[in-house]
Symmetry: C2
Subunit: 395 residues, 2 copies
Amino acid sequence: MEEIDFKWPNGFFADGIHAGLRKKRLDMGWVVSEVPAQSAGVYTTNQFQAAPTKLTKETINKKHELQAIIMNSAVANSCTGIEGTENAHEEQALVASKLGIDKDLVGVASTGVIGIQLPMDKIKQGLAELQKTKNFKVTEAVLTTDTHSKTISVSFEVFGKTCTISGFCKGSGMIKPNMATMLGFVVTDAKVAGQKLQETLVELTNETFNQITVDGDTSTNDMVVVMANGQAMQDEPELSEGSEYEIFKAALKHVLGFLAKEIARDGEGATKLVEANVNGAHSKEDAQHVAKAIVGSNLVKAALFGEDANWGRIIDAIGSTNAKLKIDSVDIALNKTKIVEHSLGLDFDEEALKEKLKSDEIIIDVELNNGDFKGQAWGCDLTYKYVQINASYRS
Amino acid sequence: MEEIDFKWPNGFFADGIHAGLRKKRLDMGWVVSEVPAQSAGVYTTNQFQAAPTKLTKETINKKHELQAIIMNSAVANSCTGIEGTENAHEEQALVASKLGIDKDLVGVASTGVIGIQLPMDKIKQGLAELQKTKNFKVTEAVLTTDTHSKTISVSFEVFGKTCTISGFCKGSGMIKPNMATMLGFVVTDAKVAGQKLQETLVELTNETFNQITVDGDTSTNDMVVVMANGQAMQDEPELSEGSEYEIFKAALKHVLGFLAKEIARDGEGATKLVEANVNGAHSKEDAQHVAKAIVGSNLVKAALFGEDANWGRIIDAIGSTNAKLKIDSVDIALNKTKIVEHSLGLDFDEEALKEKLKSDEIIIDVELNNGDFKGQAWGCDLTYKYVQINASYRS
C-alpha cells in the first residue's frame, strides 16, 4: 500500500460548482460511479439527526448500494422539520432522474448552518450544471470554515490488480454560526460486498473518526460514506477474507486515519495536532477511552497551546475516566521526554521540553502498566482563536 | 429559613494564618467544634485521589464523627506517593494532640499544586499558631486562584430552637499550574445523626455540586464535608424525619446550592454565570444530564461569552445526550426570550436578545415536553481569559 497523488478511482466521476448558496466559493458537488457501488455508512449519534443524514442512512441500509452522492455546504438542512425532509427527498429524486437511475442509489449530504431550509431553486440550478468529470472541485465544495481541502489516495495490489482508495472530508468542529460538521467520503475501485464493507467501516471508524475530538460536540450531520464499485477487479472475486482482504482493510484504515487526523489538525483555532498513545491498558475500550479523555480535556488542550508540560492535568484526565488503572503505575512522556513515572513527577529540563512543545505536533505517550491493550486519539490545542471563532456573532 | 450575615454556629471555632506555603496570603486554617460533631463527606470520583482526601474519607467513614478539620492551600499533596500519605497522617496526628482528641476525629484537606510534597516544617509552625477563634480567616486561607472568598450562613427554627448552617468553599476549576480544586465545608449547630447526614449530603450533592461544571475536569482533591455538633439543640431530639427534618434539609440544600453557584460564577476567566433549567424530562437523570450537557458545551459557553443567541448549539448539546427525547418537541428560551419551539427556530429580535445576553447571568430554559421531571445545572462562559489562565506557563 502506498500513498499516491489524489485521483478518482476507476469508474468514479465527480464535479463541484457554485450554486449560489455561498457568496463566491464552490458550494455544491457530487460523486458518481458508472455502475452501482457496494456502499456503507456511519452516521452521527446526535439524536437531532439532520434530514439528509437520516435519508442517506435509510437509503444505504436498504441494499448497501449507492451510485451517486450529492452534497452541498452553507446549509445543513438540520432542525428544518417536515419541509427539510421533503427537500432532501426531492433532491435525491432529482439526482436520480438526471442520472436515469433508481433514487435508492442516491445519497444526500449537507453541511452548513443549522435551522435554515435548502433553497431548492438554487439546488435545482446547481444540479443542472453538474457534470461527470474527473476534476476535484467537489473536495472544495464541501468545505465550510476548513482552512484547506483534505484529500488522500492510496493504491494497493490484490489478485494482481492495482486498486485505489481515495477519500476526502470536511470538518473542524462545530463552528460559527452553528455549523453542522464532519463529512467524509471514500471511494474505491476494489470489489467488496456492501455488508462486509459496513462491518469493516464500523470497526475502523471506532479507531479513527470516533477517536478525534475538537470540542467534544457531535454534530447533527456527521457521516462517513464508503463506495466500492469493483471496477479495478471486474474479473476477480470479491474481497471478503484472508490476506487479500487484510491488504484492503489496512489501506482503508490508513485513509480513514489520515482524514480523521486532518480534521483534528484543522480544528478551529488549532495551532497543534495532539496525539495520545495509550499502552498497557486492561482493555481496548479502556485504552481508547483514556486516550480520548486526554485529548478532550480543555486543561490539557490549553496547556499545550501554552507549551506547558503540565502533567498534573494529564494524570487528572486519566483518573477522571472509569478505566481500570493501577494508580501508582502510570508513566507519561511528552514528545518522547518522560515526565511521569509510577504516577510521580520526574525532574526534567523544563526549558528543553518547552522547546520541544513548540512543535506543531504533540505526542502524549501514556503507559498504564495494567494490560496489553493500546488505543490512540487525536485532538488539537485550545486557543484564543477558538474562543474568538466561537464567540463571534453570527455573521 | 433566612440568609443571615456569615457567622460560626454555636460551638464552632476557626482560624486562618500565613504558614509560608504562599508568598503573602493566608494559606492554612482550621475549623474546630467544642464537642465531636456528627459528620458526612462526599469526595472526588477521580481515581487519583489525593492523600488528604483519601484519609478524610477513611476517617469519616469510621464513625461519621469529626471534631476538627485542618486545611491548607498552595500544596495539594496529590500524586505524592507514600511520603504524601505519611504527611497527611502526621498532620492529622499533630492536630489531634494539639486539641487533645482522638485522631479519628480530625479531617485533613489540601488544595494547590499537584505533585509537590507538603513542607511539614511550615505545617508544624503554622499549626502551633492556630487558635480557636471566631474569625473568618480560614475562608480566605483555602482560596487558590478564586477571585474572592465564598461564604453563606442561614438560620432556621426547629423545635423552637434557632439553628445556623454556615458554609464556605473554594473552587473555580482546575487552574494553573495544575491545581487541585473545589473544597466545601459546612458546619451547623443542628442535631443530626451522621449516617442520616451522609445520606442527605449525597442526595443534595447530586442536585448541587455535581451539577456544576467549569471545564468538565474532576480534580484529585474535591471534597465537601458537613459537621453537625447539635449545640443549638442540646435538649432536643435528633432531626431524622418529618417536617422538622425537611426544614433542615431545605436549609442545607440552599447552602450547598449557593456555594455550588458561587464556584460556577467564579470559574476561571468567567464573565457570566450560566444556569440551565430543564423541564418536561422523562426522568430526573435525563433532566440533570441534559442540563449539564448544555452548560458543559464549549460551543454554548463560547457563544454566550460572545452574547450570541446560538440555539443550534444548545439543540446540539441536548441531542448529544442519551436522554429520552421527543425530537420534534423541544422548546428553548434564553433569558426568558423563546427562540426555539417544537425544535424549530423562531423569529426573534436578535438585537433585543443580544442586549439581554449582556447580563452577567444567563438563564437557559429548556422544555423537553416528554415527562414531568426537572433538572438544573450551572456553569460559566468560555473566555479568552480562560485560555490565557490555562495556557500560561506555571509561574
